[in-house]
Structures are given as structure tokens and as C-alpha cells.
Amino acid sequence: MSGPLALSNFSIVTSLGAGREQTMAALREGRSALAPCAFDSIPFQTYAGEITGLDDTPLQPGLAGFDCRNNRLAALALRQDGFLDTVAAARERYGAGRIGVFAGTSTSGILQTEGAYRLRDPASGILPPGFDYARTHNTYSLARFVREMLGLAGPAFTVSTACAATSKVFASAARMIATGICDAAIVGGADTLCATTLFGFHALGVMADEPCRPFDPERRGISLGEAAGFILLERPSERLSADTVLLLGAGESSDAYHMSSPHPEGSGARLAMERALNAAGLEPAAIDYINLHGTATLVGDAAEDRAVSDLFGGAVPCSSTKGFTGHTLGASGVAEAIISALAIQHGFLPGSPHTRALDPGFKSRYVLEGHVARIDRVVSNSFGFGGVNCSLILGRSA
């Protein structure tokens, strides 16, 4: 990477709450948002980090064509934490055409199409009138919606690399800024519950019937969650406050192993972390905290523990925050990058609710209880189907 980029402002919504303050309060209190899931009358037991109130908050009139659960959550996140004002100021500074939008999601607004398929005409089989494929279901719907809501006119696309989508957008944005295609970028994204992922992960046999317990010897799989988060990335300047967090590096790799199982030795995960360290020009010893992907599957946690302990030797404290929020899939990259940025700014290392004990076979320094700690540099990991891996390194500017 050609120099660090500043996270000038960021906004977040997860089941822990709307905005940075509510998120930080839950992390400090060790309060998980996972609750029994009744979404779409699913016929099996599971827990999820569901966001309430989205059904009652339609999009503003000018953007009504984009109306779906996923874009509603994106809009809610964009309205938090003074983010709209930050973007308006950046638009003044750079011009709307010089700010890119690189958003990530895994399922976009497919929930709309799930509903439309149930309302097919019994005789002809056609979808109901008013179904708007382009602005809801299509993967690009999200980036297009964010670009329109923020009044931006720079380059845009949606990255959809399963659960690494909103980590990869940082790497894309950094390259776009480095090559002068844009001066600043909105990165982030959203993912929301839908039958496709609930039934899909259930079919794979990796969904827990209890709140997920990352790195626990008795872990039984994932809990799903919903999240949206957005960040303004730009070159650092004197204008920014002393507690501004920087993107120091991004590392990407592929497992080349299996579509839905990680490499058992975590070699792809390790490669992503090594490439991120190289990009940031840092040694493993410079890292103070690792926010793990840690979804609480048997093989996923074991592979990541192997990758982390091989590279960091069990010295660096790490935790997965999935026990707070659930696995927010394509949004997990940005949600956990923001949690990592909050950990740096507030000097608080998040714990791992629901994890009762640490798997005795694991070698990494997993942290069960959140505690006060000075944190200067964080690695945040995201891994997805297709064997796609992305690690980000965030750090304190001063």
C-alpha cells in the first residue's frame, strides 16, 4: 500500500445498537445481542443478531425504488454518527465525482425475490407487479443506493466475495486512491437476514442451536447476524483529530482448497495476514490485538487458531466478536474493522460472550473477558466461501 489512509469517520449498526456509542457500551458490558430467531418462521432452532424496527422504516421518497431490508439497514447506518455531515463536507472538499463508493454484501436484497417467488401467479408463474430486480435483488443495488443517497458521482461497484466482501472493499479503495482514480472513498456495506442464508447454513450443518461460542471446545457452529457500516477513507491530513484511526495495510489471498471449508492448516488465512503485515511494513510483534473471523464452526476456528499461532506464536491477544453480533456475513468485515477501530480509540479489548472455556487444543492467546488495554495496532480477519481471505491492519495515527 502506498501510505496509510485515514478512517475520517465511520458509522455502524448491528444488533448491539445504532451508532458507535451503543456499540461501545455493549462491548464494555460484555452484552451479547443474540436471541432466539423467529425470522421467516424458520422450522429449526437457532439464535441470531437481528435488528429490530427495519420493517417500520421505509426509505425516503426519492429512493423508494430501492426499498428492501438490506438498503433500509444501509440507510440507517448512513444516518448514524454524523456520517452524512462528514460526507457532505468531503463532497465540498473533493467534488462529488472524486469520491468512490465501494460497498460489499453477500445477499443484497434477495429477500425481496424470496417474497416475490411466493407470490408468483399460480397459473402463469410470473412474478408479482412492482418487483424491482435491479434496485433490490441485484448485487449492485447496494452501492448504487449508497451513491445516490450520498449524492456522489465517482466510480462505484459492489464487491461480493461472501464473508470477506466488506474487507476487500478497503483494498479496492486503497488502490483506487493510490492510482488517482479518486481522492476519497466510501467503503462498507450491509447484510441482512434472509431465508437463503438461514436455510443454506442450516443445510451445511454449521448453524448452532444456541448462541455461538467461538473458540470454545463445545462450540456448535455459527449464529447469523445483521450489520451495516460505512467509513470515509481519505489521505491523512492535519484536519483530522488525534484519535483518527488509520488503515495501515490490507492482505488478500485464496485458499485454493474447498468451496465451503477452510484449509485445515489455515494456510490461506496465514498468507492474508502475512501480506497485510508486508503491506503495512510491520512485524507480527507490532500487533496488539487480533479481531478474529472466529465464526464458532469446528473446522473454521481450528484453522484460524493454527494460522494465528503459527504467525504470532501465541503472544498476541485475540478474540472473535461474533458472540456479540452473530456472523454478519458480507458485513462482518466492516463491522469488525469498526469494532477494531473503537478498540484502539477507547483502549478496550473486547471479550467473547458465550465462550465459556478455550479449546484446549488451541495455541493462540484467546481473550474471554473484555478489559482495558492500550491498543495501537489491530489485525482484523475475514474469510469466506470460495476460500477467499482478507486481513486488514488498523492503527493509531498518534
Partner: protein
């Protein structure tokens, strides 16, 4: 402005069976003969996977392999950008169909195949590539967005990058909401510096504005395909490369931007690799 060099091309579409075979049609010296898309079996996949793999994966692997063979480059060490306007329509339809039925039990394989980056996953497994890959979507402008992302990545990392862009049709009833003319795939191996395998230099520039006239220079008998399938919006670029003439073309990128390309053919290398 970003400058990149084309080292390899892969192509698969209706009546377009690979880059070399399609060049005379694209250059306007041979007539186009319409025929359904014929996807060559990929030797990259084991025999059982070759039959089972979704069409979109077969297209991505076939065009990727063709482009890398022409470039004489090993895909294992090359980063790749995958671009599609809507992912795997067949798999997504099957999932939606099952979820609308009384028994909502999904196939686990179908579920993992439904992700937008499924082709990227199969590609990395088949080529043993642990290099970075991304998979993006920009609706009708997915090819231009992918080309921009790949060129920017090549320029920023000073390493070669592959672009693999493809679309398949949705079955009914989604086909009515999102009709595509045909399945189509194009792959390009891009390099930040000229090399023995380089066939053309492309200078890319992103400009504000809207294309008012339809892209010139692409064969008129393929205009239905260019207009009807987002990945086929690459046809003016392919035609320019096939003619081996200096040319400037513009691709629509979003409603308010244009990706301007200046294409300069390079003299054929005395010892072309794999050509």
C-alpha cells in the same frame, strides 16, 4: 490515465468459440454465424466436477484458461478480478424455487455455489492459485467496472492481473424481470508493463459524461448481443483488438461516467508464446 498491456484473451459466446476462431468475425472480415453458446469442457476440473459444475463456472474456467494459455503465464501466481452482472442465475433460481415450496430444504452444494464469487473459488481451486481475487458487480456496467478494477490493481501492484467477466441468463420467472440476450464470457490477462506476449497497449481514463451514440466499431450483427448481455459490452474492445488498428472507444460506466479506452496494437513478437 492508466496504461496496461493485453497479453491474453479468452472468449466464449453464441457463435463465438474462442478468441482465435472469432477474430475474423470481430474484425469484420468474416460473416457472423449465429449458433448457441458452446462451452468447451475445462481440463482444469476433475471429470465428475466437469459435468456437475454450473454453466457460469464452466464459462469462467474456459475463458480464463484460454487467456492464460495465450499469455504463456501461470494462473497460480496471478491475481484475478471476476465481474458479473448477476452471478449464477440457474443456482439462484433453484434456491428461490425451493424456498417458495412447502419443504424449504436446500442443497448445501447449491448454497455454496450461489455466492457471487463461486467462479472465483472454483478457479482458485482448479489453478492452485493462492493469489488475491475479487468478485464484483456493477449491473449493466460490470465489464467496465471489472476492467477498471483490474487495470487499477495492475497499476497499483505493478503485477499482472486477470479480468474474467461473464453473464448467464436467468431461467423464468426471473428472466422476465431480468432478460439477458445470451450467456457470454470474456477474459483478459493484463500486465502493467510491455512483455514478449503483449499484443496491445490500452490507456484508460474515467471521464464524467454519458455516451449518447451506441458504441461504434463493433460488428452490427453482434449489436443484439452487446445490448442484451452486460459482459458483451466488451465487444467494441474485442473488435478493436481483432482489427489490430489504433482506435479509441468509450464504454458506459454508470449513468454519469464513461470509461475511455485508447488501444494501440503492438507488433507481433518474433517468438510469440502460446499463440
Amino acid at each position: 490515465m492508466i496504461r496496461i498491456y493485453i497479453e491474453g484473451i479468452g472468449l466464449c459466446g453464441p457463435g463465438l468459440n474462442g478468441w482465435e476462431a472469432s477474430r475474423p468475425v470481430l474484425a469484420g472480415t468474416d460473416d457472423y454465424e449465429a449458433s448457441p453458446i458452446c462451452v468447451p469442457a475445462s481440463m482444469l476440473l476433475p471429470a465428475n466436477e466437469r459435468r456437475r459444475a454450473p454453466q457460469i463456472v464452466k464459462i469462467a474456467l474456459a475463458i480464463g484458461a484460454e487467456a492464460f494459455a495465450m499469455a504463456g503465464r501461470d494462473p497460480a501466481g496471478t491475481a484475478a478480478v471476476f465481474a458479473s452482472s448477476g452471478g449464477d442465475g440457474d443456482t439462484i433460481h433453484e434456491i428461490l424455487h425451493v424456498l417458495a415450496s412447502p419443504n424449504r430444504e436446500l442443497s448445501p452444494t447449491r448454497f455454496h455455489n450461489s455466492v457471487h464469487n463461486a467462479a472465483a473459488g472454483y478457479w482458485s481451486i482448479a489453478t492452485h492459485s493462492r493469489a488475491a481475487s475479487t468478485s464484483l458487480c456493477c449491473y449493466n456496467d460490470s465489464f467496465a467496472a471489472g476492467l477498471l478494477e483490474a487495470a487499477v490493481q495492475a497499476a497499483a501492484t505493478r503485477e499482472s492481473v486477470a479480468l474474467i467477466a461473464y453473464d448467464v441468463q436467468y431461467p423464468s420467472p426471473l428472466r422476465d424481470a431480468r432478460p439477458l440476450a445470451a450467456a457470454f464470457g470474456i477474459a483478459l490477462v493484463l500486465s502493467p508493463a510491455p512483455g514478449a506476449a503483449s499484443i496491445a497497449c490500452i490507456e484508460l481514463e474515467l471521464r464524467p459524461g454519458t455516451l449518447t451514440s451506441p458504441a461504434s466499431d463493433s460488428p452490427p450483427e453482434l449489436e443484439w448481443l452487446r445490448q442484451g448481455t452486460p459482459a458483451a459490452r466488451s465487444l467494441p474492445l474485442l473488435a478493436a483488438l481483432a482489427r489490430r488498428e489504433e482506435s479509441s472507444i468509450s464504454l458506459n460506466y454508470l449513468d454519469d461516467m464513461v470509461l475511455a479506452l485508447r488501444i494501440t496494437p503492438l507488433p507481433a513478437s518474433p517468438n510469440p508464446r502460446g499463440a
